[in-house]
């Protein structure tokens, strides 16, 4: 069943940009707390490096 939807089709192909947003340690702490992330690589640089990262990482759901 095809339905003719009325909206602004000129929006296709238009990129909306935002940022830059700096990811601070505080933001990572809050993101961890929001999703209940307890993995060590998300909490300290040392344990993150042991896991092969350059430093402490942020949970992707931050995005």
């Amino acid at each position: 069943m095809a339905m003719e939807l009325e909206y602004d089709r000129s929006l296709y192909g238009v990129e909306h940009k935002a940022g830059p947003f700096e990811i601070t340690n505080e933001i990572i702490d809050r993101a961890n707390s929001s999703v209940g992330e307890t993995g060590p690589a998300f909490h300290s640089d040392e344990t993150a490096r042991e896991a092969g990262f350059r430093g402490r990482i942020a949970p992707p759901t931050l995005c």
Binding site: M3, D8, E15, K17, G19, F21, T24, R56, I57
Partner: protein, 75 residues
């Protein structure tokens, strides 16, 4: 995003695909575009879905995440 349909709108899910690690000190930029608009009819009636895609990149231009977010409109 004005779609002529329905009177209520709700969030209908978000999918995050991590592509690269995000570190403290990174500067992220976001670029969003309209991906799709479509109607779906089920038992509870017809809903119109509006789908946005956002690409997050860091200060080196590396894509760190791809996000797809949907909104649903209904009567």
């Amino acid at each position: 995003m004005k779609v002529k349909f329905g009177r209520t709108q709700m969030h209908a899910g978000q999918r995050v695909e991590p592509k690269a690690p995000v570190y403290a000190g990174d500067q992220l930029t976001a670029s969003s575009h309209l991906k799709d608009v479509y109607a779906k009819t089920g038992r509870s009636g017809t809903m119109v879905f509006i789908v946005w895609e956002t690409t997050f990149s860091n200060q080196d231009g590396l894509v760190v995440a791809e996000v797809q977010e949907s909104f649903a409109k209904r009567e």
